[in-house]
């Protein structure tokens, strides 16, 4: 216990340093705003803003981005409740009961519930994160290249087994990301690879940010432009001291379901393919199933707002656990954070705890404060956010595009990358319309170089014998679980068709985000 408490205190003190605290507050505010805008979620905010953080040292940069991530999870509920449009995919389940509450004139109570439930989710998950991370990192120190490779296969397998998207399309997406990661000079032999059309711009490889900003910046904006052609209807919100006082008495109504949802969300969030969107939907379903009057859900039940909001915040913290301890991101957003850490010269994974303890514990400490700052800002700024949501999308869109273009140019300073980014954005948008999941590609391009390196190292040490991945106990287990996940959807479908004949409706998961 002491081995956790002492560095945690150090981390909390670190997070309170002026630079870090400033970045944390700015990050929370931007995150709340980004989350509240329909069509923009944590992943978009983090992708677009990552280049901007080269201005400050890595510790402050990751604190800023983690705060954006956190704030966006809080902000997502604002447009779910006041507009009836989820602010990001992670807040989809919040619409179910948040919208009816707003229609009944109780938007203030719904918004306060979302904020407090998010705080519950955030707090429970940060404490779990603090307790789980050091032992997991210590365990992961035993991993060799074979285990690393097997673990990455496991991460990709979760997309196939649990992602809920078309399997062939998911695999295509993963492989496209991995192939793009191989472009450029081969690290081991130094030979140039996949230099398309002999363009010199491909020699430095395809930066993961080019793909991430292309898909989550440009592609997402095109997607949102298509979706928001219609008018949006904002609900009137009266919020003041009185509604806060009224709300304090109601917290006990949802304290238990919110806490249970936090636990569920946290563990779902750890899985790479799952994350905040399915986590919040599962929490909603669980709370409804455990409730005494399930019929009141969907008609403005306060627990129906609390459960998904607690779960999506918990999931966002959960997805940081494998990123920090194993170097495997638990969500697209953490994949981008991981890519950022590689740019800053930090190798995420078990060694991070021993080599850069200040960085890790500073981040952990900042999560506590980011959680607190987000809930306070969220409640204080409810009137402002409601005003901002009436802004026309044709003002926001060009500003985001400019940030994408300039931000995409900053890391490598070549126009080649900007052209590529536009290409990825348009291709990603078109493929997304055909239900190709895009998140696996972003995860794959970040993990690609590490996956190839560990594969080649393992094969070299085993003289080309692929059984190295199956013979060692740990990597063998990972590979076996990965294989099970690959087979699972086929078995599940076979089972469904056998049982239900032709009346079965296939379950569809959302695009995992957050």
């Amino acid at each position: 216990m002491e081995s956790i408490l002492i560095p945690l205190m150090g981390g909390l003190a670190d997070a309170l340093q002026p630079v870090n605290l400033t970045m944390l507050i700015i990050g929370c505010l931007i995150g709340l705003f980004v989350g509240a805008m329909p069509g923009l979620g944590s992943v978009n905010g983090v992708a677009i803003l990552l280049p901007v953080t080269f201005l400050v040292p890595p510790d402050a940069a990751i604190i800023f981005l983690a705060a954006v991530y956190y704030g966006a999870m809080y902000g997502g509920a604002v447009s779910s409740i006041t507009l009836g449009i989820p602010g990001s995919s992670t807040a989809v389940a919040t619409v179910f009961d948040g919208r009816p509450m707003a229609q009944a004139g109780r938007a203030d109570q719904a918004l306060l519930t979302a904020a407090i439930a998010s705080f519950i989710g955030g707090t429970i998950s940060v404490v779990l994160f603090t307790l789980f991370a050091p032992p997991l990192a210590a365990f992961a120190l035993k991993f060799g290249p074979a285990e690393e490779f097997a673990l990455m296969m496991l991460a990709f397998a979760t997309f196939v087994g649990l992602g809920g998207d078309d399997i062939a399309k998911t695999i295509t997406s993963i492989v496209v990301g991995l192939v793009l990661a191989t472009v450029g000079l081969d690290i081991i032999s130094g030979k140039p690879r996949l230099i398309f059309f002999d363009l010199p711009g491909f020699f430095h490889g395809v930066n993961f940010l080019v793909l991430a900003i292309g898909i989550y910046g440009i592609g997402e904006m095109l997607w949102t432009l298509e979706q928001t052609k219609g008018d949006v209807q904002v609900h009137r919100v009266r919020a003041g001291w009185q509604s806060i006082r009224e709300h304090l008495g109601r917290i006990k109504e949802y304290l238990v379901p919110a806490s249970l949802s936090s636990l569920l969300g946290y563990f779902v969030g750890i899985l790479p393919a799952a994350g905040a969107t399915p986590g919040s939907l599962m929490a909603y379903g669980m709370t409804k199933a455990l409730s005494k009057d399930p019929d009141s859900f969907g008609k403005g039940n306060i627990r129906g707002v609390a459960a998904p909001e607690a779960a999506n915040n918990a999931a966002s913290t959960g997805s940081m656990l494998p990123m920090i301890t194993l170097g495997i991101p638990g969500s697209p957003t953490t994949a981008i954070l991981l890519g950022g850490m590689i740019i800053w010269g930090l190798r995420p994974g078990p060694l991070l705890f021993t080599e850069h303890p200040d960085f890790v514990w500073g981040l952990v400490g900042s999560l506590y404060f980011a959680n607190l700052a987000s809930v306070l800002f969220n409640i204080a700024l409810i009137p402002v956010f409601v005003r901002v949501l009436t802004l026309k999308f044709t003002i926001l869109a060009p500003v985001i595009f400019v940030l994408c273009i300039v931000g995409g140019y900053a890391p490598t300073q070549t126009l080649h990358d900007i052209w590529l980014m536009l290409l990825f954005g348009v291709a990603g948008y078109l493929l997304r319309k055909l239900d190709y999941p895009v998140a696996p590609a972003v995860l794959a391009i970040v993990l690609g170089p590490l996956a190839e390196q560990s594969l080649r190292q393992s094969l070299l040490s085993s003289q080309g014998d692929p059984f190295i991945f199956f013979g060692r106990p740990l990597s063998g287990t990972f590979m076996a679980v990965a294989a099970l996940l690959f087979v699972y959807p086929f078995v599940a479908r076979w089972w469904r068709t056998r049982r239900a004949g032709n009346g079965a409706v296939p379950a569809h998961g959302g695009e995992s985000q957050g």
Partner: protein, 168 residues
């Protein structure tokens, strides 16, 4: 174009891309075992592209048998309104990047923002001109001054010399 046609086209294009990638992976690279160095440089991209080929062909087969929801849909892939707004946006971005390499980013930004806000968005003159001027100035201050990242200026490069002398 219907969704069904789009689904077919995408699967065919991805299969062709996978074949191209497989060919490109063998281009001067070894895809097999190099003694003493382990798997060759082309090994990983080649087999990945092969998996991509298989998965795209699987999608193609599934379209053919109508197994994906998209391959049964005869709706328009993009309706008129979508083509207009998304198409215009993509074209505007295209000219923004193209313009950046000739006239510099700042001139292109001004043109892009004015087009988007005033002509496409139909916002008031005050909002349009205000943002059109404010955003490039903010970008200059943030990226060139604070982060010292020179953005492309093309033929407008000489115009910036006096400003550089002022701030550096």
């Amino acid at each position: 174009m219907t969704v069904r046609t789009a689904e077919f086209t995408a699967a065919i294009l991805l299969s062709l891309a996978a074949l191209g990638l497989m060919w490109k992976s063998t281009d001067g690279l070894s895809i097999g075992w190099v003694s003493g160095a382990g798997p060759g440089s082309g090994f990983w991209p080649f087999w990945l592209s092969f998996v991509m080929l298989l998965s795209s062909l699987a999608t193609l087969a599934r379209c053919f048998f109508g197994a994906t929801p998209q391959s049964r849909s005869t709706e328009q892939f993009m309706d008129r309104e979508t083509v207009q707004i998304v198409g215009t946006t993509v074209a505007a971005l295209f000219f923004l990047i193209l313009g950046s390499s000739y006239f510099g980013l700042y001139v292109s930004l001004i043109a892009f923002l004015f087009f988007y806000l005033r002509i496409l968005g139909g916002h008031s003159w005050g909002v349009s001109v205000g943002l059109t001027l404010f955003i490039p100035i903010f970008v200059f201050f943030f990226f060139e001054y604070l982060m010292t990242i020179p953005l492309p200026k093309g033929i407008t490069q000489p115009l910036f010399y006096p400003i550089y002398q002022l701030i550096y």
